[in-house]
């Protein structure tokens, strides 16, 4: 087999050195009954050519991304990934490395993680960030656990306008930890209802822009929580245009990092961002990298604050996370480095303006109106008089894709439909959306 570099002569020589007469003898320590019960999975094995053929066929059973116009979003977006990102993340010194346990052999990984942490802090306005979580949903869940460790009230407020797929993961983690989630309703502008905020909680998790695309106002929220922690789940590109949660006293900021140079990949791998205040370092989950010096005084990077982590602290660790999304973090770092502040602001601005043009175009269709009168970034929700599932199906027949209505938060009265517009959408495509919508409603 091509992945095993042994000759018959090697095997003979090695078995002799071991003192065994056959490979099978090396498995003599497995109970006989177990070996006898074994059944193969029933695959014959094949060649690279065949494997490629099988998977090319499977990939063609999916919709061809170049033959449709996507207005899908809800946390995972159709952004352009610059070639330089894929090219550099394919450097095998980086992608075939393990977790950087030996810093002298891992300065590439460690330096980019340090850059990543810095960039996340720049975007979120926070003081420290970890080197990634699995995805934005588990990052949000772990942020709640962190708030609970700090405040210990057993109860956390959660905005009703969270993406349902994030909420589901949060629910599971909180059930496991015995934390009660109290849902905070949204008002008629689509924002959290501040009058319903109670103080006797470990924290509040809200999302901005939220599941309707509505940007939350964070000003004053922290004060209304008493000493509960303010956790904001953000869109990382929206932060290029928005004053970051750090300014408004957020304690933890999490985000789904997929928009930063990762392909949608049917929802995985994704990239979780988690940033917090320096004072909360000891409660933070995940890996973190620090700058230090070597024995000659040269600057270098190494994993730090590891006494929080599972391999040291075991059942008292802040999390069980070990493998994270390091390659996604590398992609995000290279993505942000390719854009820089100037490019990032331009990109966010393209998203913003195209989405606003689209919202106006879509809402000129009779029977379609904005669901909420509040600022949004690149995603907005409309209310229609028709069944949104039916509209989605009819648009799909014309090669125009939108998210399913159930991906909006707790369906309010009336049909809601959400559209995301990235820098990739052209005016012509947006006009086609409006025309198609006119036709199907």
């Amino acid at each position: 087999m091509r992945y095993i570099p042994h000759s018959e002569d090697d095997r003979r020589h090695m078995l002799a050195s071991v003192g065994a007469s056959s490979i099978d003898e090396l498995f003599a320590d497995i109970p006989k009954e177990v070996l006898e019960r074994f059944e193969p999975m029933g695959l014959p094995g094949t060649s690279e050519i065949d494997v490629e053929r099988v998977l090319q066929e499977a990939s063609r059973e999916n919709i061809r991304p170049d033959r449709v116009i996507s207005f899908q979003g809800g946390g995972v977006y159709d952004h352009h990934v610059p070639s330089v990102v894929r090219h550099l993340t394919s450097r095998s010194e980086l992608y075939t490395a393990y977790t950087p346990y030996q810093p002298e052999l891992s300065q590439g990984t460690l330096t980019t993680m340090f850059e990543f942490q810095t960039m996340v802090c720049e975007l979120t306005g926070m003081e420290i960030a970890n080197a990634s979580m699995y995805d934005g949903a588990s990052a949000a869940a772990e942020a709640i656990l962190m708030a609970e460790r700090v405040a210990g009230r057993g109860r956390v407020l959660v905005s009703a306008a969270l993406f349902p797929h994030v909420r589901r993961v949060v629910d599971t983690y909180c059930w496991a930890a015995g934390i009660e989630l109290v849902e905070l309703p949204y008002d008629d502008r689509g924002r959290v209802d501040r009058s319903a905020i109670s103080r006797n909680v470990s924290g509040l998790l809200l999302q901005t822009p939220n599941a309707f695309g509505v940007i939350e106002e964070l000003d004053g929220l922290k004060a209304s929580l008493g000493d509960g922690l303010l956790i904001a789940s953000c869109h990382p590109l929206a932060l290029a245009l928005l004053e970051p949660p750090g300014t408004f006293g957020a304690d933890i900021v999490v985000a789904e990092g997929q928009p930063l140079g990762l392909s949608p990949s049917f929802g995985g791998p994704l990239l979780g961002l988690l940033a917090t205040r320096g004072a909360l370092l000891r409660q933070m989950p995940g890996r973190i990298v620090s700058r230090t010096v070597d024995i000659e005084g040269e600057t270098g990077y190494t994993m730090a604050a590891q006494t929080r982590e599972q391999h040291i602290r075991r059942e008292r660790a802040t999390s069980n996370i070990c493998t994270n999304s390091a390659l996604g973090a590398l992609a995000a770092t290279i993505y942000l480095a390719s854009l820089g502040e100037v490019g990032l602001r331009n990109l966010a601005s393209l998203n913003f303006h195209k989405a606003h043009y689209a919202a106006r175009a879509v809402c000129r269709v009779p029977g379609v109106e904005p669901a909420f009168a509040a600022p949004f970034f690149n995603e907005f929700t409309v209310r229609t008089t028709l069944d949104p599932t039916q509209i989605r199906e009819r648009l799909r027949a014309q090669g125009i894709l939108v998210d399913p209505p159930e991906s909006l938060a707790a369906p309010a009265a009336g049909g809601l439909l959400r559209f995301a517009v990235t820098e990739k959408r052209t005016q012509e495509e947006i006009d086609r959306l409006a025309a198609a919508l006119q036709e199907v409603t």
Partner: protein
């Protein structure tokens, strides 16, 4: 090491982005209250600057494509290049997770088939691909236990038993799932002692987490007695799959008494580790736990595949969508190519390489459990040189061009060196590694300064961990700002 923030910005990134092609309305404003005022201190660089920077950094890294990487329990085997290509096919990479199932039949079919194959490899039919990593699989599996006992009215089962040789993720996952951890000491032979186990078992125990073979590389020879006793006590058996490479294609956890088993696709099924992730940690469970699996599950009905949400007893979701699909596709491609015969060859060669390397180090390094091992073994650096530690040996290996083994784990062996060669290494590589280890032992006896100061030829020398702990710097100290220290 220079960072991207040390590069001189060029500010002109024209060409990467399109120009705005839609009319702007005067009302398209965010408003003062929310619009960004803070700068974003990320330099805008020209593409050649970015390419040179990250290419230079990549050269300060060591991956399995660079050489031998015998990290114990990490299974750093060769990552087939073909699998990278297929996972990147536009039909896979460009697919949105909330696509209509009719638009995602190819991906759903691959995931469904992969689930079936993993179920057969484990001998446990109920599979979920949602967990994003091994530790995530552990958490998910333990949540199945939790729900199982909730439904049986045995919520008093709040303890998880853990051998003292367990990976650190095991106790951390148990805690995250809301269980208390009880440690079970290993016997003198490095395996679980049955009377110690019996003493720990009662009706407050929900389950045990076992690693098979264990982290000493030893197959628990009494595995059937262990799992039978756990089951007799009304508890369940979780198997950590980090060491599946040891018996792939020859034995199945389901036949050993496992109730839940997790795979590390980024170990056993050859997907790359990415410098720390992403991985994937699918779980396979016995049918009695099937109702509790995460949602959505992929079902095959009337010739089509669709996500199924109708599972009232499910623990819920542990991932927003279907897990790390990109990783799953690579693992699937690997399985298709290898087939049953290939899998059997993998474990055969993995165990041959480990036992061969063990035989080469015998007599030079202490082997606290010198016996037939599986895919890895544990040596010790203790006593190799008067004043030399395992860390010194590890760092000196770097000078010889090798990535060091896992060090100081498992915790039950002092000065542990945990060595896992994997099946993708040649005899020539193993011989060179063994000779380097023997040479280092000789150096330890004659010139220990050489070891203390190692490595000598890396981009940075041995790093000051104390400074990193006492005065950590987690973000770039921009000029004019005080560095963000915690």
């Amino acid at each position: 090491m220079r960072t991207i923030f040390d590069r001189t910005p060029s500010d002109d990134v024209t060409g990467l982005l399109p120009t705005l092609d839609v009319p702007v309305d005067a009302s398209d404003q965010l408003g003062e209250k929310i619009a960004r005022r803070r700068p974003i201190r990320i330099p805008s660089l020209a593409e050649p600057q970015v390419v040179r920077h990250y290419t230079a950094l990549s050269k300060c890294n060591y991956g399995v494509d660079d050489g031998f990487y015998p990290l114990g329990s990490c299974t750093m085997k060769h990552n087939p290049k073909m699998t990278e290509e297929v996972a990147r096919l536009p039909g896979f990479a460009g697919l949105h997770p909330m696509s209509d199932p009719a638009d995602a039949q190819g991906s759903l079919r691959v995931l469904h088939h992969l689930s079936e194959l993993l179920g057969r490899i484990a001998g446990l039919p109920a599979v979920s691909l949602q967990p994003a990593a091994g530790a995530h699989g552990e958490l998910t599996g333990l949540l199945l236990f939790k729900r199982y006992f909730e439904r049986r009215g045995e919520a008093q089962r709040t303890r998880i038993l853990l051998p003292d040789s367990a990976h650190g993720t095991n106790p951390a996952s148990a805690a995250l799932a809301g269980f208390a951890v009880t440690k079970v000491a290993s016997g003198a032979d490095g395996q679980i002692d049955l009377s110690t186990l019996d003493a720990a078992l009662d009706d407050t125990v929900a389950g045990i987490m076992l690693t098979v073979p264990n982290t000493l590389g030893i197959f628990e020879e009494r595995i059937l007695e262990i799992t039978a006793r756990v089951h007799r006590a009304g508890a369940l058996c979780y198997f950590d799959g980090a060491n599946l490479n040891a018996f792939l294609g020859r034995a199945r956890p389901g036949d050993m008494g496992a109730d839940v088993f997790h795979f590390n696709l980024h170990k056993t099924l050859a997907t790359p580790h990415g410098g720390g992730g992403p991985g994937a940690g699918p779980i396979a469970a016995r049918d009695i736990l099937a109702d509790y699996l995460p949602v959505p599950r992929i079902v095959h009905e009337g010739g089509t595949f669709r996500p199924d949400w109708d599972a009232p007893d499910s623990i819920g979701s542990v991932h927003p969508f279907y897990g790390n699909v990109g990783v799953a596709i690579k693992a699937y491609a690997y399985l298709l190519e290898l087939g049953d015969r290939g899998l059997r060859e993998v474990s055969g060669a993995a165990c041959l390489n480990a036992n061969y390397l063990l035989s080469r180090l015998r007599g030079t390094y202490p082997l606290p459990y010198d016996r037939l091992c599986k895919h890895e073994f544990v040596a010790s650096g203790r006593g190799v040189g008067a004043d030399v530690t395992t860390l010194d040996i590890a760092k000196r290996l770097i000078d010889y061009g090798f990535h060091p083994p896992t060090v100081y784990f498992p915790l039950i062996v002092p000065e542990a060196l945990m060595i896992e060669p994997t099946e993708t290494e040649s005899r020539e590589t193993l011989d060179r590694f063994a000779e380097a280890m023997i040479q280092i032992a000789a150096e330890a006896a004659s010139d220990d300064k050489l070891l203390h100061e190692a490595p000598h030829r890396t981009p940075v020398r041995r790093l000051d961990q104390t400074q990193a702990a006492r005065h950590p710097v987690f973000t770039y100290p921009f000029a004019g700002a005080s560095p963000r220290e915690a």
